[in-house]
Amino acid sequence: MPRLVIDDLQIEVPEGTKVIEAAERLGIMIPRFCYHKALGSAGACRMCAVKFIHGPFKGLQMSCMIDAQDGMVVSTTDEEAVAFRRQVIEWLMMNHPHDCPVCDEGGQCLLQDETVSGGHGLRRYPGRKRTYHDQYLGEFIAHEMNRCIHCYRCSRFYQDFAGYRDLGPMQIANRVYFGRFRDGPLESPFAGNLVDICPTGVYTDRSSRYKARRWDLQRVPFLCIHCSLGCSTVASARYREVVRIEARFNESVNGHFICDRGRFAYPYANLADRPRRARVDGEDASLAEAVRAASGRLDQISMNAGPDAVALVASDRCSLETLAVLKRISREKGWRHPAVFPRPDLEHKTRRAVSRLDRRLAVSMRELESADFILAVGIDPVHEAPMLALALRQAFREDAGIVVMDPRPVSAPFDFDHVAIAPAEIGGCLSRITEALSALQADSAAQGKETRRPEAAGPLRADLDSRIAGIVERLRGSRNPVIVCGTDIVRDSTPDRAADLARLLLQLKARPCLFFVLPGPNSFGAVLLAESPGRSFSDVVQDIEQGKVKALLVVESDPFKNFPDRERLERALDRLDLLAAMDYLPTSVVGRAHIVLPTCTVFECGGSFINQEGRVQRVEPVHEGGIPVHQVSGGGHPPRVFSHEVPGGEIEAAWRTALEVAGYTNARDNLSILKIMAEEHPGFARCRDIPTSRSFRVLPDAGDRPPVCEETGDRAAPEAADTLEVVLVDRFFGTEELSGYSPVIQNADSEPLVFLHVRDAEPLGIAHSDWISIALEGGGLEVRAGVSAQMAEGVLVIPRHRLLEWQKLGPVPAQIPFGRISRAGKE
């Protein structure tokens, strides 16, 4: 390891460390623009010049371009270096429009900082400034090219790191321009990172434009809850309104970046029609009154019809705090344990995935980047776990092979082999791969036997054989393979089969190799806290229909969003004696509930969530909440309405209100919530000792449990040749619940498409982007068709998009006869 001296301080750094990086470890921040930890060096800006005094290099050199070497002596404060840097910043500022007062970057701008620290104060150049035309880059990002200093960070991130090609450098010399060929929305779902990564104000966040300077914001290290990955963010609020989300570096989860869903979903917390007042039978009430009413009526029903007639419904966007409290009160009151998952299969698969993960098997997203072969099954990364797609791309850039086994027309910013097969076939393929691998390993028989289990591998199509053989070969030849497995569209036994394969690989390669993607931000927590076997919401509906359940307390959950049969749900809810809803979203359930108890968003009360690899992450609130000042004041400022309380400020975290509804009045402070959590699951005891800035994993140590051979009745592939199997899927925008309420995202979202294979579409006379109508149980669905050859035959891929009434589908799983699909006249 090279040892060098920088500004009279000695440091030893790993081989390959740049001098600029070595200095940073000593706490010396050499000025820079183009250098970025995730993007590496470019040597484009000349800002990081330092003086090399001894060693293999001499004189002024760019510290971002030179690897630290033994015997180097470097000065960052040498007169010559300082003078050079002063000149660099002077010429970088030559064409700058000096519009800092109206620039959103002002106050958090690297260019401002380096101008001051570089000692450039007086403009000497009297010539004209070069100017550019700005482009419209979509609803998320504003473009002001005149502020560019040509560090190339944006194009290196956009093209090299993230793998999208519609934004890049153009022109030459002092006219170099960063933008698109024509105006138009940026195609990358990671484009929001340009805001963070550009050292000046070329790209700024349109959703938060002109709202605040950074120093005016309440900023808190935060957590994204818009998919199961749980990326780290910084959330900012001002005047009781969340105004901005930025990426936060996390070395185990998301690295430096986040996706646009995570960045632009936040306005759901500021909605004017968010439930802010409690309601009892349609009348506004104070929170205390509504709590009393809910409490009284629930007790009444418990008394008359038995506590079992009260059911709780929650969702995987509830915090661990809320889920733990619901578990506690349901047990103590005798109410039904909260149903978190909308469908029994989701609950089952999540439970299987969680129970198969252990410390030796689980890979983090960062570790995934160093895999050399990845088999991803039943997952469409960009849509289901966006940052996973960026992690896979980093592996791809290091030459990892990637195979995606999925029925959808998957597209991703990396090259991969797509095995387009129906959901029913995926499990079989996995078992075949496991069998073949362990047969090959039969010599080392002792290990081989352990994981063998009677496989229910159904008959497979012949053309798959060679592809499976190829995958087996590549798994064998790789050092560090990883299995990525989704839980949404796959069959019930698939997570187990993926885990079986991973266990075998662990024996062969001795490296962690299993990465599950779960349905939601706290699905992991939900199954840790659930009773077994858990109930899903569809069981609850059945019990309502049979008259067993008379009262429903729905906590931060919207069954209307997820339940595939809207009419049946409406009929069931109408039968209830009491429908009480606790939520911060203006959901359909809130709209029809007898009692509404508004709750805080995670921005206002913080909370803990467990991501898909079992990582418990806890965040503090960003602000105290209440109705945003500009809503109270009718847009004027300062507000002219005065009161002793914060408008809308009586709302509390769902877990606090839930405790009150259950009659606990003395267990409301933070300490006791940690106690309740620890009591409900021993794994959460550590929450008490660990500061919110740190996360920990709740995973069993080496789970040398025998592989679980639970007999699961997987549905077979549909036999009939004249039907399509409906595969309900998530999309990057429009299917995730919270972001679906964000006006910013609504504006940027595009029309949802229903996909089918060319060979299925042709006989029906359907071409790409034709309008088609599908006759569903609950009525006709008119939608545009996507026709693709890069997907499985025999499936109809329908996104659970908020603009699509897929809830007409009726009972799932569904098969749709060809005869029910036709071209619609609509153009």
């Binding site: 090609r165 519609d166 934004l167 890049g168 450098p169 153009m170 022109q171 030459i172 006219r175 933008g179 698109r180 060929f181 024509r182």
Partner: protein
């Protein structure tokens, strides 16, 4: 346009390395690179339109607007600079109402600058189509333009 482009494409392989020859052919056909043609070239060579524009703007040989019927080149080389080339350029600019690289609205003139045309002894120099003018006097410029330009 589609037919002409198809003809150009038929002479090349649809790969990235063919991009510059393809663009040269397009320019030979139209005199410049129309945006739609660049997008078609991008599809043909399987690169992003941004990259086509990036590559083509990197080289001085490509033009992005139709060239006028007459090409005016005003020398800004060292000798001409010393002898008042800048004043000549200013005069041409204000007479034609365009800046270097631009074309008049009627499509009559395109103005460009060059760095030395090898007529330093006659500085300041300028060229209109095939005619070279030396010791240019700003007040004579309209005459030269009208005389040589159609």
């Amino acid at each position: 346009m589609k037919e002409q482009l198809d003809q150009i494409f038929s002479r090349h392989h649809g790969t990235r390395d063919a991009l510059i020859p393809v663009l040269q052919d397009i320019q030979a056909e139209y005199g410049y690179l129309p945006p739609e043609a660049m997008e078609a070239a991008a599809r043909f060579c399987r690169v992003a339109p941004v990259e086509v524009y990036g590559v083509s703007t990197f080289y001085a040989q490509f033009k992005f607007s139709p060239v006028g019927r007459n090409l005016v080149m005003v020398c800004q080389g060292t000798a001409c600079h010393v002898m008042g080339g800048a004043r000549v350029l200013e005069e041409v600019q204000s007479r034609l109402g365009i800046r270097p690289g631009q074309t008049t609205a009627d499509g009559r003139f395109t103005l460009e600058t060059v760095a030395c045309i090898g007529a330093c002894a006659l500085a300041p120099a300028m060229v209109v189509n095939k005619d070279t003018f030396g010791r240019v006097k700003p007040e004579k410029i309209m005459e030269m333009l009208n005389g040589s330009g159609s």
